[in-house]
Amino acid sequence: MVQQHIIHISPEFSLLEGESHFKRIRSEKISNVLIDCSAVSIWPSSACAFLADFIKRLNHRNIKWSLNSIPEDTLKTINFMLYRKPAATHLIKKDEIPVVDDTLSWVVTSWHNIVSTVKLLEDITFWTLLGPFFKHGFRYSRTLFEISERGMRSLGIVALVAGIMGLILAIQAAAQLQNFGATIYIANLVGMAIVRELGPLLAALLTAGRSGSAITAELGSMVASEEMDALRAMGVSVTKYIVVPKFVALFVALPCLTIFADVIGITGGYLFSTIQLGIPSSHYIDQTIQAISANDVMIGLIKSIADAIIIASIAVHQGLNTSGGAEGIGRSTTKSVVHSIIFIAIAHLFFTILFYFTGHTLKFNV
């Protein structure tokens, strides 16, 4: 008859203790174990789980075991941990659906996102252009409120960042141009860079961070609190009632913020050049006016309109497709800002390449 080896479980039984017992069992090639639990008086769930884990390892090695001095309730718990079936679900599996791999699933999800965003834009265009001709088709007061919220309230941060950017540009340019005695050309460099690229880009990035995230979070929390379902149940178009005022607000506010960022950015360069470098004020202003054409301003504005469409459609799409409560709102808001920044960068690259190659022919008659 095989001799039964006795293992005494200590009152503070842990995974480590189980491990040391198990090592001994293996090294001594023990094939039959009596687990003595008489020293343990309190059985928290963790101790049950540790013991169950120890027994599972014995089972795995085909080592016979038996338990001694264990309370009945604890035995029930350990039995549950050892022999429970996978959690039953009330959901019934449909016929087998082929499992698509991750890449294909990503492609399908992305395609679905593109299609739903295009549909959303179609709906927004309809209500923006034709809404004013319907009764209650356009919420004027709400749109004005949104313009104030997205535009007016962003003026401070846009002024701060654009001003700093203008100063930085001027300082960097001065360091280079002073070597050639061409400091007056700081006006050209600052003016062109701000008006054609940095002004629209700054305004767009700040709007994506400030307004895009706010729109996504607002819509996401409305989805979570069933406000969107309430609107749909009442037969009120979510696009018309909630989305269009925000979309129109960004469409109006962002070009205005871009112009504002241009002016403040150029002012930053002007202040540094006149105060620090001693360039006469009138020279700097004349030089700036000569350097910047209406065409440059228009290019900046076109970029800002594209940015507004990008930010609004991504923010709204992410907001309306929020799921998973508070965590889901956080996820959607992050996605909204990150996707907006990526698409803004791509759009600016696209326009810069477009205007570079068509630069000699593309002129706006302003």
Partner: protein, 252 residues
């Protein structure tokens, strides 16, 4: 006297991804009836409700509401029906940026040509019906849970619907407020002759107000009829549901 059928659901099947959540559901409700959909948490009650509201499309089966098949209708075709349906969501789903009066008046502003004064009268009447006369200018954030639910009822009632849906109307309320809300529902049904569909797991409330009910478990209807008939059902899941609830009530 035979009462007219208001909702008729036939062989409804719906699924999320590859899981069937409602499997071959069929039932009907009659006018001026308080009809309950019972079931444990996550059994598909709210999904069924969203189908009845036309917010979700089933995989198969048909849903007819007020003699109109909503399973094949698009949003435009649904519009006249939606004006005859009121819905009270679990958390109230009031718009946080609007006052109570603005929330309640929203459907009137959208669908009618009524003057501001008429709208104000209707809104004040509906708020009076649910005992919120004094709170018309409050924002939802300034209200208690029970007040929010009552405000949501006022909003759902504002278009004088023929059919009123409630999703877990007693959730988050103390027993006294839950009983008060039940009284309001019965009174609205009696005074306005509407049909009420209540989706809940609260058996106490259902015993107080419902005329008939169905119970959903494992994606299927496992019992139907009056509460008494359901209590006599032989299905162990139904008996378990009732016993569990009674035990909890004794503990309270």
């Amino acid at each position: 006297m035979n009462k007219k059928t208001v909702i008729e659901v036939k062989n409804l099947i719906t699924s999320y991804d590859d899981n069937v959540v409602l499997d071959n559901i069929s039932f009907s409700t009659h006018e001026e009836e308080i009809f309950a959909v019972l079931g444990g948490s996550g059994c598909g009650k709210t999904t069924l409700l969203k189908h009845l509201l036309g917010l979700l499309r089933p995989d198969a089966g048909s849903i007819s509401i007020l003699d109109f098949d909503i399973t094949k209708a698009n949003d435009d075709e649904m519009q006249p029906l939606r004006e005859q349906i009121g819905m009270v969501f679990q958390g109230g789903a009031l718009f946080n940026s609007m006052t109570l009066a603005e929330n309640v008046s929203l459907p009137l502003e959208e669908y009618t040509d009524y003057s501001t004064r008429v709208i104000r009268d209707i809104v004040d009447w509906k708020l009076h019906l649910v005992g919120l006369d004094h709170a018309r200018d409050y924002l939802p954030a300034e209200l208690s849970g029970g007040m929010k639910k009552r405000a949501a009822i006022a909003r759902a009632m504002v278009m004088d619907p023929k059919l009123l849906f409630f999703d877990e109307h007693t959730t988050g309320l103390d027993p006294i407020m839950a009983a008060e809300l039940d009284r309001i529902i019965v009174r609205l049904r009696d005074e306005l002759n509407i049909t009420v569909v209540v989706v809940t797991h609260d058996l106490t409330s259902i015993r107080r107000i419902s005329d008939r009910a169905i119970m959903i478990a494992d994606a299927k209807i496992i019992a139907s009829g009056t509460i008494k008939e359901m209590e006599q059902s032989g299905d162990s899941r139904v008996i378990n549901f009732f016993m569990q609830h009674d035990k909890e009530e004794q503990l309270i």
